[in-house]
């Protein structure tokens, strides 16, 4: 198991470098004056430009720039905003908000998703099954921003069940955006659980379990579920990572000052360093979550451990 983890770790390294390099390149090396990109449209004196070039190593070849950037990263320096505020500070400030939203959405999607998926999978072709299939298809087709608006309108304004924007009072104000955010993944989870369960129930070992005279509850609950939830669990881990990375659109619609919104504003304001910094943090989280998924997979499925 240890070797398996080590191997996965090693494989993550080039991925990290490759991904961050691409982002870095895109932001800093595309046509257009990077100083302009960094500054926005503000007018700037020649000496200030030269100073900035020096500071951001813009006269160095790209690869060197990247190397220096990585060096800074290793020391926890994720870059700065144009006004000099460290990105790491921004991250620390905004992350808890995004985290709350993410966790709430996560809880919502797991609960509903698993239950719906299991019920649908057990009674294939039944009302529940068709309901799950239809509703998931429809929800997925409606773009998230439309869904967000509609939810805001219907549930927030018309029915007044939830507060519609901002994060004023505690957890409840996160409820509506969490539902919207979670609804997408809920769809995947329900479908994945259903499909996985249906597949598993066709396996030979399920037939063996029945031949052993075990009750239906035990056959499904113990033998089938344990196997069919493996892919679901790994999906959940990755999803959590993605949620933690911030949801731009949802945060935008519901005016939640989290990381997603921060990045979006940075792009608008052409704060290249902030964008790169936050995206890099996001890539790190992604890689971390993937490692966790791999470990999780090894724990859940004994066949993988022996490699």
């Amino acid at each position: 198991m240890g070797r398996y983890i080590a191997r996965r770790l090693l494989q993550s390294i080039p991925v990290f470098f490759g991904a961050t390099f691409i982002v870095f390149t895109m932001v800093y090396a595309l046509p257009g004056d990077p100083i302009r990109a960094l500054n926005g449209e503000r007018p700037i004196s020649d000496s200030a430009q030269a100073a900035l070039r020096e500071q951001y190593n813009l006269d160095d070849p790209l690869v060197v720039q990247y190397a220096k950037y990585l060096g800074g990263l290793a020391q926890g320096d994720f870059g700065e905003t144009f006004r000099g505020r460290p990105v790491s500070e921004i991250l620390l400030e905004k992350f808890p908000i995004t985290a709350r939203l993410a966790l709430l959405a996560f809880a919502f999607e797991i609960l509903l998703g698993l239950i719906a998926g299991v019920l649908a999978g057990l009674r294939r072709g039944s009302f529940m099954d068709n309901l799950v299939l239809v509703s998931t298809t429809v929800v997925v087709a409606i773009p998230v921003f439309v869904l967000g608006f509609v939810a805001q309108l219907v549930l927030g304004v018309k029915l007044r069940w939830f507060p519609i924007a901002g994060v004023l009072d505690g957890w409840y104000s996160y409820a509506l955006p969490a539902i919207v955010l979670g609804s997408l993944s809920l769809v995947y989870i329900a479908r994945l659980t259903r499909t996985s369960l249906v597949e598993t129930l066709k396996s030979d070992y399920i037939r063996t379990a029945e031949a052993k005279g075990l009750s239906r509850a035990r056959v499904v609950g113990r033998h089938a579920l344990r196997n069919s939830l493996i892919p679901v669990a790994t999906f959940l881990a990755v999803d959590l990572g993605a949620l933690m990375g911030g949801a731009i659109i949802t945060e935008g619609i519901f005016n939640i000052p989290g990381i997603g919104r921060e990045v979006f504003l940075a792009i608008r304001g052409q704060e290249g360093a902030v964008v790169v910094g936050i995206v890099t943090a996001g890539i790190l989280i992604f890689i971390l979550m993937n490692l966790i998924v791999d470990i999780l997979y090894g724990v859940l499925d004994p066949r993988i451990r022996v490699e």
């Binding site: 063996t208 009750s215 344990r226 859940l300 066949r303 022996v306």
Partner: protein, 344 residues
């Protein structure tokens, strides 16, 4: 989390003049989008304690389905459309699901081929054997694992103690099959159905497994139903044989009789198609054609398209009855006597 099921053995006794297990006029069909598949077509057989009955046939002959029917494992779109399955005097088909379930595993057990896919990959083998005791006998995990260990010894798995917590994929094919057998025998069933137990294994391992089954059977005097297409295996182990073709039994008799002097052209051709070690050169003699689709079973005698002895119009039109053609020998052929009298 799961309540343990009814612990304890059921109170069943074979009536004095009855058989341990009797399958009577059984028919199983599957309704698919493409038509109705008659997997099993009015078959009968009996089994007594200590007896080994081999059900011989090619894939698609319906042999596994009949066993699944005994176990009550036929599911939609399949259904048992006719017949009785009498175990110790009780027709299993009249039982409620729960009652039937209590018989499964405890009284009648079934083991399957390809233990790699037939065993749950995420639980240790010890766990899977022990489950029988935890669920059916209400024993604790510790006790159950101890008994499981004994069973693993009994099916001759070496170093059982170290391997109790290993997973199925860590065992070789033969060892896995022994685990399957251990699960099957766990609760001392009176009938064991073995579905192609040695098919997925090498020849030498096959022999070991069959030998194990035979010795276990003589210890416990359980009835053994062996489902296979392997003539060699049948010859070694079985007492009596039912030959199935296209969902029907076409010949019944003792092993010796059937092998020496078959009474049905299909059996005859089967015997002739086995390559023999004393054959020198020459061609192999397979049965021409292929088994029919169970959705479109040929009219009259289902074997007639491939039968070298077929004589229209009788063979095309008239379905032969399974009838006694000699002492203890049944055959479903219009010309069984001829087959019988031709030697070899």
């Amino acid at each position: 989390m799961f309540r343990r099921q009814d612990a304890g053995v059921l109170d069943l006794e074979t009536p004095r003049d009855g058989h341990l297990l009797e399958v009577d006029d059984l028919a199983v069909e599957f309704r698919t989008d493409y038509g109705v598949v008659h997997a099993v077509n009015q078959i009968d057989y009996t089994l007594d304690p200590g007896e080994t009955l081999a059900i011989l046939g090619e894939s698609g002959s319906g042999k596994t389905v009949s066993a699944l029917a005994i176990m009550g494992l036929i599911e939609r779109p399949g259904r048992i459309s006719n017949g009785r399955i009498v175990y110790k005097g009780i027709d299993l088909l009249t039982l409620a699901d729960r009652e039937h379930r209590s018989i499964r595993g405890q009284e009648i057990a079934m083991i399957f081929q390809d233990a790699l896919s037939a065993l749950n990959p995420v639980f240790s083998v010890g766990n899977q054997i022990a489950e029988m005791f935890m669920v059916h006998r209400g024993m604790s995990k510790k006790e159950s694992m101890a008994v499981a260990l004994d069973l693993m010894d009994r099916v001759r798995i070496p170093s059982a103690k170290e391997r109790l917590h290993d997973y199925p994929h860590q065992f070789s094919g033969g060892m896995r099959q022994r685990v399957m057998i251990a699960i099957g025998l766990a609760l001392d069933p009176d009938v064991l159905i073995a579905d192609e137990p040695s098919t997925a294994l090498d020849v030498t391992v096959q022999a070991q497994i069959m030998e194990l089954l035979a010795s276990l059977q003589s210890e416990t005097q359980m009835g053994l139903i062996l489902i296979t297409h392997d003539l060699g295996v049948v010859a070694e182990v079985a007492d009596k044989v039912c030959v199935m073709y296209a969902g029907k039994i076409v010949e019944k008799g003792t092993v010796g009789d059937i092998y020496d002097r078959p009474a049905h052209p299909y059996t005859e051709r089967l015997m002739a198609s086995i390559p023999r070690i004393d054959q020198k050169g020459g061609r192999l003699d397979p049965i021409k054609g292929a088994p029919p689709s169970l959705m479109h079973i040929p009219s009259g005698c289902s074997f007639h398209p491939r039968c070298p002895r077929a004589r229209p119009p009788r063979c095309n039109e008239e379905v032969p009855e399974l009838r006694e053609v000699a002492l203890g020998r049944l055959s479903a052929c219009h010309f069984a006597e001829e087959v019988l009298s031709d030697d070899g």
